[in-house]
């Protein structure tokens, strides 16, 4: 056995064998380490082989790992389209040149960019190229007998001789039984025993790495079935799960509308709770509770939706991600007929829920009317005359409007951004800078100039911003993560050890060797020997 160079094709060329692997006890360590990675002459096949070896080498893996880390950094500095779309829009509006540059090198989409993908794909190719041969090798090792003892026992980390009184054969039996009890794999062969323990170390290591591939594969294959959408849901309103009900919807690559389970959700009430931070003198939320009624398959059930506590419906989940006020605005034509009446969700801008919103009245009046609104739950007048809110609760709810007439740009069929008015193309008829301020409390009505009609702040509702999401990757990624942790723990908690026992003139000689750093080896051998001497008849341990 010791006469032949064992095959190392299953491991990276630069894996530090002297540290990681059992000393096979043949070629001098120095010579093996000096072996060059790059051969002298390179034909096309050799070049491919060299490339493959380079790619699957440990050194390359380290460099790729560091590269992935470095390449991720811009993803935390430049706003990402997925995590921070508003940040992207801010750059687009404030610095178009920078925006163009970022866009050209995919800095707004770092984690799906070509360059980031290239690095992690190379890393995973390297990883797969590294573990596949090792899986095959380990599979063989798992089914093979423990390794033979080295020719020269002087190289072993631990050596002990135990004098034996009586039959050495019986003593060997006893040693084999003890080793088996310590969960060693044991082979008794004539006057010697070979035993090995800790296969779980490599098993765990391989499971860990395969689990990483599992995560990537799940993301690659299953994420196409994902979908998620957002919706602002006003108290009393119902939402039916179909594409047209969503304010925004993001389908995966293979999304099919039939994936949406038929169900409806209505918001019965939404109750936020606030307390005042005594030190900083600001209001802070301590609880958001939304009571909803889910109608699914003909059954109705009441559910409570909270932050950190999504509602499961069908194969999707509904999350509470935002909330705000939705003033009910009623617009009437000069004849007094209602042409617009609905709650309008306003987006909050600060801790006291000063909010902005837009009302578009395309039909029913002599001209199209758009209103840019500001909402103050607890309005107070600042010294400058401007309004502000000093409490997130509606103690003095007030809406102010800047009102415009003209073409709202809705006639081309697209709905446009519901939170934006094309004010550049409109004519302001009331509001700030026109001399006619529009300040409304609930029940107040403002008469539009030019006999267009009236605007009423009818009442106040709250709304919640929900996200409904179906994530097809969760199961695969969760399972892979569980295997990853199990593999990592098993691998790190296990020591790979080999022991040999042979009969010598002085008694039984025990030898042990471990892979890598193993300060506990001697103690482990000591424990087995202690049991051995205990069960023996007054045998005594002596160290050679």
């Amino acid at each position: 056995m010791a006469s032949r160079q064992p095959s190392k094709g299953y491991q990276p060329k630069d894996l530090d064998e002297s540290r990681q692997w059992f000393d096979e006890g043949n070629a001098p360590v120095k010579n093996r380490l000096a072996e060059p990675i790059l051969g002298p002459k390179l034909g096309p096949f050799e070049f491919l082989r060299w490339t493959w070896r380079l790619l699957t080498s440990m050194r390359t893996a380290i460099i790729l790992l560091v590269l992935v880390a470095v390449a991720a950094i811009p993803g935390s500095i430049v706003p990402q389209r997925l995590a921070d779309p508003n940040g992207v829009a801010t750059i687009r509006d404030s610095n178009p040149d920078l925006y163009k540059f970022y866009e050209s090198v995919q800095l707004f989409d770092v984690f799906t960019s070509v360059w980031f993908s290239a690095i992690y794909l190379l890393l995973f190719i390297s990883l797969i190229g590294c573990i596949l041969p090792r899986v095959r090798h380990h599979w063989n090792v798992l089914r093979a007998a423990p390794a033979d003892a080295p020719k020269t026992w002087t190289r072993l980390d631990v050596r002990e001789v135990v004098p034996v009184t009586g039959s050495t054969d019986a003593a060997l039996d006893r040693a084999a039984a003890l080793l088996r009890k310590s969960r060693y794999r044991v082979v008794r062969k004539g006057d010697s025993i070979k035993a090995e323990f800790g296969y779980l170390r490599e098993t765990g290591n391989l499971v860990f790495h395969i689990a990483l591939v599992g995560i990537l594969a799940t993301l690659g294959f299953a994420s196409g079935f994902n979908w998620y959408g957002q919706r602002a849901l006003v108290e009393g309103q119902a939402f039916t799960n179909q594409l047209s009900s969503y304010d925004t919807f993001n389908p995966g690559r293979w999304f099919d509308e039939r994936q949406l389970d038929p169900y409806a959700v209505s918001l019965s009430s939404f109750v936020p709770k606030y307390v005042k931070d005594p030190v900083k003198d600001v209001w802070m939320p301590i609880d958001f509770t939304a009571d909803v009624v889910v109608t699914e398959g003909g059954n109705q059930r009441a559910e409570t939706l909270k932050v950190n506590d999504p509602v499961h419906i069908g194969d999707s989940k509904m999350y509470l991600l935002g909330n705000g006020f939705a003033p009910v605005i009623t617009v009437r034509n000069p004849a007094g007929d209602v042409v617009f009446s609905q709650p309008v969700p306003f987006i909050s801008q600060d801790a006291n829920l000063t909010s902005v919103g837009v009302v578009k009245v395309p039909d029913g009046l002599a001209e199209q009317v758009g209103m840019q609104g500001f909402f103050y739950p607890s309005a107070v007048e600042l010294d400058s005359g401007a309004l502000s809110s000093n409490n997130p609760e509606p103690t003095k709810p007030t809406v102010t409007f800047n009102i415009y007439k003209g073409d709202l740009g809705l006639d081309d069929g697209t709905n446009g951004n519901v939170f934006q008015l094309p004010i550049d193309q409109l004519t302001q008829i009331a509001g700030r800078h026109t001399g006619v301020d529009v300040v409304l409390e609930p029940g107040d009505t403002f008469t539009l100039p030019e006999g267009l009609g009236t605007v009423e702040f009818t009442s106040l509702s709250r709304y919640i911003g929900v996200e409904i999401r179906h994530d097809a990757t969760q199961f695969g990624v969760g399972l892979s993560a569980a295997f990853l942790v199990a593999g990592l723990l098993a691998s790190l908690a296990t020591r790979r050890r080999r022991m040999w026992v042979r009969v010598t003139a002085k008694g039984l000689e025990w030898g042990a060797q471990s892979r890598g750093d193993d300060p506990g080896l001697e103690a482990a051998v000591g424990r087995i020997l202690a049991k051995f001497t205990l069960t023996g008849s007054g045998d005594k341990v002596s160290t050679t």
């Binding site: 530090d16 540290r19 440990m58 790992l65 560091v66 880390a69 935390s76 997925l82 909270k306 990624v477």
Partner: protein, 291 residues
């Protein structure tokens, strides 16, 4: 309730004071070693320093527990509290190891780091006890942040040993031979330092893996997705990948030793960066510094 928070803060400053004395004694001990070639027995300076570190840690523990009681929750929901608990874990890891192994030679590093970290969080990041925002009201706060705290403690101790290893290895290769560096003779050999550092860092890596997974599960509850490349998620990922690189480096020919130690220090720098710069200056969903 506020009295208890105040007492906690006083205890924090007291712990810093005791750590300072311990730091001075650790340093005196090192200086004493550089003055004489004698390096065998621990001096009484060293023993007193260890005793003071224990005392400081008990006061520190009291400060942390009182903060938790005052807030009616786990004491790690904002930057000040995280700093308080993470330094407690750091010194605790150091003291815990010292029961089994003589690692007292990094005592001045550990106490020095703890004083600095506590001083910064107590003076710059201190916030009064406030109730938790809805997003933080979850049992995952207990798990996710606690394993992050533990991981940070192990990473810090591992980094201290890696730094010591770099100096020691320079000394072993014939540099740093002046009198000033003689204290290094009191340190174990570079290889022993590396081996211990590796073991601690690997434990830190396991805790960090848990931190990331627990964070992902919590993110799914709170934000609807388990991973969205939020700035804090990006940096947790960077840290995880850097330490994975370190663990590989230790098994690679030509990377073991100093290059691996440097990688470990880079990893720990990323941990500190994640806690300070990312918390304070980067935009993201983890806006819980309380400042």
């Amino acid at each position: 309730m506020n009295d208890l928070a105040t007492t906690s803060l006083i205890a924090t400053y007291s712990a810093m004071g005791v750590y300072t004395f311990a730091f001075v004694l650790f340093t005196v001990d090192l200086a004493g070693r550089s003055a004489s070639e004698e390096q065998s027995k621990p001096t009484r300076w060293l023993r007193s320093a260890m005793a003071l570190t224990w005392l400081g840690w008990v006061i520190h523990l009291g400060a942390t527990v009182m903060r938790g009681i005052a807030a009616h929750r786990v004491p790690w929901a904002n930057m000040f509290e995280f700093g308080l608990t993470a330094t407690l874990a750091l010194v605790g890891v150091f003291l815990g190891i010292s029961v089994f192994r003589d690692v007292r030679f990094v005592g001045s590093f550990i106490t020095g780091f703890a004083i600095l970290a506590l001083g910064i969080v107590a003076t710059n990041f201190y916030v009064a006890v406030t109730p938790l925002p809805p997003a933080l009201q979850d049992y995952w706060l207990v798990i996710h942040v606690f394993v992050a705290v533990l991981g940070t403690g192990f990473f810090a101790t591992g980094a201290a040993l890696s730094a010591a290893q770099l100096f020691q290895s320079a000394r072993e290769s014939g540099r740093l031979t002046t009198r000033n560096w003689r204290f290094l003779s009191a340190f174990p050999k570079a290889e022993a330092l590396e081996s211990l550092s590796y073991r601690l860092t690997v434990i830190g890596f396991v805790f960090w893996t848990f931190t990331v997974i627990a964070g992902a599960i919590w993110a799914e509850h709170a934000w609807g997705r388990y991973w969205g490349w939020d700035t804090k998620e990006v940096w947790s990922f960077i840290i995880w990948v850097l330490f994975a690189g370190y663990i590989h480096a230790r098994a690679t020919r030509g990377w073991r030793g100093n290059p691996a130690a440097v990688l470990n220090l880079i990893g720990f720098t990323a941990v500190i960066f994640n806690f300070t710069i990312v918390n304070l200056f980067f935009k993201g969903l983890h806006v819980y510094s309380g400042l």
